[in-house]
C-alpha cells in the first residue's frame, strides 16, 4: 500500500491552428488623424480664426478690429503688390545681421567666462547690469551714437540677443557633467577646442533655448524700434509698415503686418529650430 497520491495521466491538447487573424490592429481613422501634430495645430488655428471672424462681425467696426477674412485679403494683396515682401526682406536683413552679431559676442563672452576668472566676473557684472535694460530704452542713446539708420537698429538688436543668450549658454556650460569634462581633458583639449568639442555639444539644449529666446527678443525689439522710428520712412521694415498703416487707418493692413511677424515666427520655429533639434539633441537622446 503506497501513500503516494494517484498519478494523473499526462496528456497534451494540440493547439488549434490560428485562423487568419491580423497580429496588429488598425486604429480607427479618427484616432489616427488625431495623432498628426500638424492637423491638431491646424484645427486650433482654424478655431481661433473662426472666433476672430465672429468677434469682428459681432463688433461691426472694422476700423478697430478687422475680420479674419479682411486681414487675409489685405495680407494676400500685400504679398501680391510685393510691398509686404519688400518690408519683410528689409526687416529680416537687419534682424539677421543683429542676431548673428549678438551670437558671436555672446559666444566670445561665455568662452572667456568658462576659461578665466576675470571673464566670469565680467560676464556676471555685465549681464546683471544690462539684462534688465529694455533694448528700446537704449534706442535714444544708440541714435546719438550711430545716427538714424540701420546701425542703431543693429545696436539695440545685439543688446536684446546678447544677454539672454550669454546667460543661457553660461548656465548650460556650468551644467556640463564632470565626467565629460574629464574625458575632454584626457584627450588634452584646452581652451577653444575644449569649448567647441566638449562644452558646446554637452550644453546644446540650453544654448538652443537661449537662441530661441534671443530670436524672439530680437523680433520684438526690431518691430518696436521700427514703430518708434523707421530708419527713414522710405526704407522702413515691417514695424514701419504697421506704424504707417495705423496712421492711415488701414487697420486690415496693420493686422496683415502682425500676421507676417507671426508667420515668420512659426516658420523659423518649425523649420529652422525644429530641424536643428532633430539632428542634434533629439538624435543624441539629450531631449525628448
Amino acid at each position: 500500500m503506497s501513500l503516494s497520491p494517484a498519478r494523473r495521466e499526462e496528456y497534451e491538447i494540440p493547439l488549434q491552428p490560428l485562423p487568419d487573424l491580423k497580429l496588429e490592429r488598425e486604429l480607427p481613422l479618427a484616432q489616427r488623424l488625431w495623432q498628426q501634430g500638424w492637423l491638431r495645430k491646424t484645427l486650433i488655428l482654424l478655431a481661433l480664426a473662426l472666433i476672430w471672424e465672429l468677434a469682428a462681425r459681432y463688433q461691426g467696426n472694422d476700423l478697430l478690429l478687422p475680420s479674419f477674412l479682411q486681414t487675409a485679403k489685405a495680407f494676400v494683396e500685400g504679398i501680391g503688390t510685393g510691398e509686404l515682401l519688400e518690408k519683410v526682406a528689409i526687416s529680416l536683413s537687419v534682424l539677421i545681421k543683429g542676431y548673428l552679431l549678438g551670437i558671436g559676442l555672446a559666444f566670445l563672452l561665455t568662452t572667456l567666462a568658462v576659461s578665466t576668472q576675470l571673464g566670469r566676473d565680467l560676464l556676471s557684472t555685465l549681464t546683471s547690469m544690462f539684462n534688465p535694460l529694455p533694448a528700446i530704452a537704449l534706442l535714444p542713446l544708440s541714435l546719438l551714437w550711430f545716427g538714424l539708420g540701420e546701425n542703431s537698429l543693429i545696436f539695440v538688436l545685439v543688446h536684446s540677443v546678447l544677454w539672454a543668450l550669454a546667460l543661457n549658454t553660461y548656465a548650460g556650460f556650468l551644467g556640463v557633467s564632470e565626467t565629460q569634462r574629464m574625458a575632454g581633458r584626457n584627450y588634452g583639449l584646452k581652451g577653444l577646442r575644449f569649448v567647441l568639442f566638449i562644452l558646446i555639444p554637452a550644453a546644446l539644449p540650453s544654448i538652443l533655448a537661449g537662441l530661441k529666446i534671443g530670436w524672439a527678443f530680437a523680433w520684438r525689439t526690431l518691430i518696436a524700434a521700427e514703430l518708434v522710428f523707421g530708419a527713414s520712412s522710405g526704407k522702413g521694415g515691417l514695424g514701419w509698415y504697421i506704424f504707417q498703416n495705423r496712421n492711415e487707418l488701414y487697420t486690415d493692413k496693420v493686422f496683415a503686418g502682425l500676421a507676417a511677424v507671426i508667420l515668420i515666427g512659426l516658420l523659423v520655429e518649425n523649420l529652422v529650430f525644429a530641424t536643428v533639434e532633430r539632428v542634434t539633441v533629439k538624435r543624441w537622446g539629450m531631449q525628448r
Binding site: 495645430k41 486650433i44 488655428l45 481661433l48 480664426a49 472666433i51 476672430w52 468677434a55 469682428a56 459681432y58 463688433q59 467696426n61 476700423l63 478697430l64 478690429l65 545716427g147 538714424l148 530661441k212 529666446i213 524672439a216 522710428f229 523707421g230 527713414s232 520712412s233 522710405g234 526704407k235 504707417q244 495705423r246 496712421n247 492711415e248 487707418l249 488701414y250 502682425l258 507671426i262 515666427g265 512659426l266 520655429e269
Partner: protein, 338 residues
C-alpha cells in the same frame, strides 16, 4: 514659448478686445469730452476752457448741467483711435488726418469736422546754407516731421512735391523724412551737428528756431496752399452730433465766442495761453505770435478743400468731396468757409 501659444494669446486678446470695444451706450445730453494737443494752435480751446464758455452756452440751450472733460493727447493717430473707440467725443488734429478719418469712415461712423481752430502757417526750415529751395534738398538731408508720410506737414509737402515733380513722384521727400516730435526736431536744428538738416515746423516752434541766425525758412504752408489756410480742426462722429444736438450747439457757440474774445483782446489771450498751458515762453513772444497778421484764430475753415482735392488726386483719399461742406457738420455752414 511656442509661437502657436503666442498666436493663441493674440486671438484671445482679440476676442477680449471685441468684447470690450462694443460701441458704448448712447450718451445722454449734457456730456462732452474734448481732446486737444499742445501748442499755440489750440488757443481757441484754451479760451473756451478758461472762460467756461461751454457751460455758459449750455445754459442758453436750456441744459442746466453740462459735464465737460478736457484731455490732452499727442498726435493724430492716438486722436483717431480714441474717437473711433468712442472714448472721446470731439478730437482735434491737422486737416489731412481729419480728411483721412472722414474718408475711411464714409458711410459708417461718418466722422466730420466741427470747426477750424485757426489758420497758422507752418514753415519748412533748414540749417544748411546751401539749401535755399526744395530743389536743393538731397539724399544728404533729413527732414524732421511729426509723422512722416501722413501728418499735416508731410501731406502739405507732398502736395508741393506733386506740383514740382509730377504726380507720380509725390512721395519723393518721404524717403528723407524722419518722424520726430517738434521740440526734439527744433533742438536738433538749432544745435546742428545731427543728421537733421531740415524741419517742417509749426508755431510756436518755428519762431523759436528762426531766432537762431543759422536757421532760415525755405517755404511756408501758405505759399504751398496759396494763402491763409486752416491748420487744425475739431472733428466728431455723426452719432455724437445727432444724439446731442443741444450739447453740440453749446460747444459750437462757445467756439464762436472764443474767436471773438481772442480778436477783441490779443494781449489777454496771450496771458490765457501761458496760464492754461503752464508755458515757459515769455509773454511778449506769445503776444507777438498772436498779433502776427499771418495767424488768424478763426473757426471758419480756410482752403481746406485744396487738401481734399489734391489728396484725392494723389490717391490718398478714396472719396471725392464736392465742396468743404461734405466733410463739415451743417452748423459750420453759417460761417464762410473754403
Amino acid at each position: 514659448m511656442t509661437h502657436t501659444f503666442t498666436f493663441g494669446r493674440l486671438a484671445a486678446a482679440l476676442g477680449l478686445l471685441g468684447a470690450l470695444a462694443t460701441p458704448l451706450a448712447a450718451q445722454a445730453e449734457g456730456k462732452i469730452s474734448i481732446a486737444q494737443q499742445f501748442g499755440i494752435g489750440y488757443l481757441v480751446l484754451h479760451v473756451v476752457k478758461d472762460q467756461q464758455l461751454i457751460e455758459k452756452h449750455a445754459k442758453a440751450q436750456g441744459l442746466d448741467k453740462v459735464e465737460v472733460e478736457w484731455r490732452t493727447i499727442s498726435g493724430a493717430t492716438a486722436m483717431n483711435e480714441a474717437l473711433l473707440a468712442g472714448a472721446i467725443d470731439v478730437v482735434s488734429a491737422g486737416v489731412p488726418p481729419m480728411l483721412t478719418v472722414w474718408d475711411r469712415t464714409h458711410g459708417r461712423q461718418n466722422v466730420k469736422a466741427v470747426a477750424s481752430l485757426g489758420s497758422l502757417p507752418n514753415y519748412l526750415l533748414s540749417n544748411r546754407e546751401e539749401v535755399k529751395t526744395l530743389d536743393d534738398l538731397s539724399e544728404k538731408d533729413r527732414i524732421a516731421v511729426p509723422a512722416a508720410g501722413v501728418g499735416f506737414q508731410s501731406r502739405t509737402l507732398q502736395i508741393e512735391t506733386a506740383k514740382l515733380y509730377g504726380k507720380d513722384d509725390f512721395q519723393r521727400f518721404d524717403n528723407i523724412s524722419v518722424s520726430l516730435p517738434h521740440p526734439d526736431a527744433t533742438a536738433a536744428l538749432i544745435k546742428g551737428g545731427s543728421e537733421i538738416t531740415a524741419h517742417f515746423s509749426s508755431p510756436p516752434f518755428q519762431y523759436q528756431a528762426l531766432e537762431n541766425p543759422k536757421v532760415h525758412k525755405l517755404i511756408s504752408s501758405y505759399d504751398i496752399l496759396g494763402g491763409q489756410a486752416t491748420f487744425n480742426v475739431l472733428y466728431a462722429t455723426e452719432k455724437f452730433h445727432d444724439e446731442n444736438p443741444k450739447t453740440y450747439k453749446a460747444f459750437y457757440d462757445a467756439l464762436v465766442e472764443a474767436e471773438q474774445i481772442i480778436k477783441a483782446d490779443k494781449a489777454a489771450a496771450a496771458e490765457t495761453y501761458i496760464r492754461v498751458e503752464n508755458s515757459k515762453l515769455p509773454l511778449d513772444f506769445v503776444k507777438k505770435i498772436i498779433e502776427d497778421p499771418e495767424n488768424d484764430f478763426t473757426i471758419s475753415p480756410q482752403r481746406t478743400f485744396i487738401y481734399a482735392e489734391q489728396l484725392h488726386e494723389l490717391g490718398v483719399l478714396k472719396n471725392k468731396a464736392t465742396s468743404w461742406k461734405d466733410y463739415f457738420f451743417e452748423e459750420a455752414y453759417a460761417h464762410p468757409g473754403s
